[in-house]
Symmetry: C2
Subunit: 181 residues, 2 copies
């Protein structure tokens, strides 16, 4: 497992990105490596390519599996465990969204709902209450929206994305032909 300079800087960059996105540096690097590598890799190969210890690779692989971003790929005649990325780049991005929703957004919505259920009558904190409701509603919309993205065909999804600077126009069209919602 030797990486060209180019690929190495790609992998390092995604390590840094990962550390800003709730997964740590080496986990980000392992994922980047598996994404750009067509053939499955085993823990030793990953450790060598990234210069990280065996234990660290093991933990990283476990975490990436818990995020459903990589999957084992058995190689007949070899006892080692091999891994590949769990899908194309689009699929991986959707998976990250879904996992983060489950891990962060859902629990937050639950907390906010609980807060809103208590103290319905405290007039003193009415402003705070309303803000908490705003956040709650925003997160709920994000949840619905992301659920919708999940269930779309990759093709329609790409089409939706490609609309780019046309989203509001689409809304106008919708209003015109289907009436306001």
């Amino acid at each position: 497992m030797e990486l060209s300079d180019n690929l190495h800087s790609f992998v390092l960059h995604f390590g840094e990105m990962g550390s800003r996105w709730g997964i740590n540096r080496t986990v980000g690097q392992i994922l980047a490596l598996l994404v750009i590598h067509e053939e499955p890799l085993n823990a030793d190969q990953i450790g060598t390519a990234l210069s990280i210890s065996r234990g660290n690779v093991s933990m990283g692989l476990k975490e990436l599996q818990s995020w459903r971003l990589i999957k084992p790929q058995h190689i007949p005649g070899d006892r080692k465990d091999y891994f590949i990325a769990a899908g194309d780049v689009w699929t991986l991005a959707l998976t990250v969204m879904e996992e983060r929703r489950k891990r962060e957004v859902d629990p937050t919505i639950t907390l906010l709902r609980d807060l809103l259920l208590k103290d319905t009558n405290s007039t003193k904190e009415e402003y705070a209450r309303q803000k908490i409701r705003d956040i709650h509603d925003l997160l709920e919309m994000i949840t619905d929206w992301s659920g919708e993205l999940q269930s779309m065909e990759p093709a329609s999804l790409k089409r939706l994305m490609k609309l780019g600077s046309g989203v509001s126009k689409v809304l106008d069209v919708k209003d015109k032909f289907l009436g306001k919602t």
Copy 2:
């Protein structure tokens, strides 16, 4: 500055959330506090409410200003600096999106483009090349898309969000009346 238990747990939770989103715990707490507090607060009040040191508050306020999430609000007759959230919850969410795009996505797109410009002929790494291109294209779409959201009126934005499980239907309508893109 005394917080009720409810509000306190809200603030603590958003501190934890912040730490998963690239801003640290206390910075998240300060923002949460300013969001739910209608009147402007000064550094001492914030420090007392959250039990953090004066220096830490100062740094947190500076960081939140660099994210454009809070703004100073002068109080006549008082020499202290007071701060309020820079807008409603929706606006704040859009601002976070935009800042993260500028800080993380844009530099990544630049890096990927540079990588793609080099080695156009290395056939050995063709698979990796294609993956890097996929990521590049995805990030570019996210950029366009988020630019579009930025420029939408809050009202249309809410409407778009509320579509929720109707996005693909809207796409169908668009196809029907405007032709495929």
